[in-house]
Assembly symmetry: C2
Homo-oligomer: 206 residues x 2
DNA sequence: GACAAAACAGACCGGATGGTCTAACCTATC
DNA sequence: GATAGGTTAGACCATCCGGTCTGTTTTGTC
């Protein structure tokens, strides 16, 4: 892991990560070109390959950064022990996440590229695997706890439930973000959260 | 449109289309390689480029073929005028579609690659644009009629509703098809349709 | 100022992509 | 049997991809 030993100064690190986020947000994890990232960053190929072993290892750093940033701003969802509090907690967490997303549209686009239920149900590959595994474990845990509380339906296997959640959320979020990006179509984030939570309840409730 | 003037004999046409379907099913519309399709088809590059102007124009033929085949087997969804019959009609249509899909897994994978709510809400590009437009118009019409009947909720804009439908359907279908492909995990298609229609109702009902 | 090592620039590489081109091969017509 | 035109094989091309490598500059040490 070269990137850990060789110390890269903060400015270059930032411009590389920013370039990567921009490129990935624009073209998706698969469509992103390392050459373009390097060009965008203003660094030379030699410099970049001096610090990072390969595309994959830069990706890893980028994803760590994104994950760190998200968790720092939004934290983790703590499912309460009180059944009646379940959806309220979900709502306020979702609201926080949406707020973060709204002011970090590029960054969140990277995440969305991973959560995106594109190619089958295969969550992230390569560099994206670990952070996505963490996220999945975490959601499945939340689902399980919700079921134990009696707040969530138990007649569907959790894996399918979670995939439905993912794709539905992804779609509704897409709708929101498109409007957030577009100044001419103002949108009420509060109303959206209300609506979305309602849809989730409809699908997830017993 | 060269492919219309130069008549290509049926065998070659078939092997090309089959190769394309196989390749697209395996790698998605974006990931599919024309070189591999050509190789797979057993024809030479010269021959293929003699009949088709480029990758795009073969894709167009393939999609026409897929659309034709689907419509031939499943037909179009005719929304009844009787409100109480709405979901019953949807169920039986969905059932027919699932049956077709089950015996045409490769073909349906091509369609799924298009319906897939990947990159934003952008339905098909290039060759995929027209057939997808048709499909979209058709679904939106059905949604509208369902709303007029009072069978569907009217508090969400149809575009969002249709995207939710798409992604949710895509996800549930993925779950089913994975099991259909895998002999060791038998699955009851009837029960699946019942479950899926139930989910749709939950999301779409007023 | 000398020297070594770290830091960097960018030409270059092999392999993929979609697409072009030419030489040859059939086959129908005279 | 010669000729012409439809058909075909596959070498070739530009461009992109991620990645390597060599030569040069910068920096730190004595």
């Amino acid at each position: 892991m070269r990137s850990r030993s060789r110390r890269l100064d903060e400015d270059k690190r930032r411009s590389l990560i920013d370039a990567a986020i921009e490129e990935i947000a624009a073209n998706g994890m698969d469509g992103a070109s390392y050459n373009r990232i390097i060009e965008r960053s203003g660094l030379s190929k030699g410099a970049v390959y001096y610090y990072f072993e390969n595309k994959e290892s830069l990706y890893r750093i980028v994803l760590e950064e994104v994950e760190r940033k998200f968790l720092e701003a939004v934290g983790t969802l703590r499912i309460p022990d009180d059944r009646d509090a379940f959806w309220g907690v979900c709502r306020s967490y979702y609201r926080k996440a949406i707020d973060f997303a709204a002011s970090n549209l590029k960054t969140i686009e990277v995440v969305r590229g991973l959560v995106d239920p594109s190619r089958g149900a295969s969550l992230g590959r390569g560099a994206a695997l670990e952070p996505m595994r963490r996220a999945e474990r975490w959601v499945l845990y939340a689902l399980k706890k919700g079921q134990d509380l009696g707040a969530l339906r138990t007649d569907v296997e959790p894996e399918l439930l979670w995939n439905m959640l993912r794709s539905l959320g992804h779609t509704m979020d897409s709708w929101l973000f498109e409007r957030l990006r577009d100044d001419e179509r103002p949108v009420d984030a509060d109303a959206f959260v209300e609506f979305a939570i309602d849809v989730y309840r409809g699908v997830l409730s017993p």
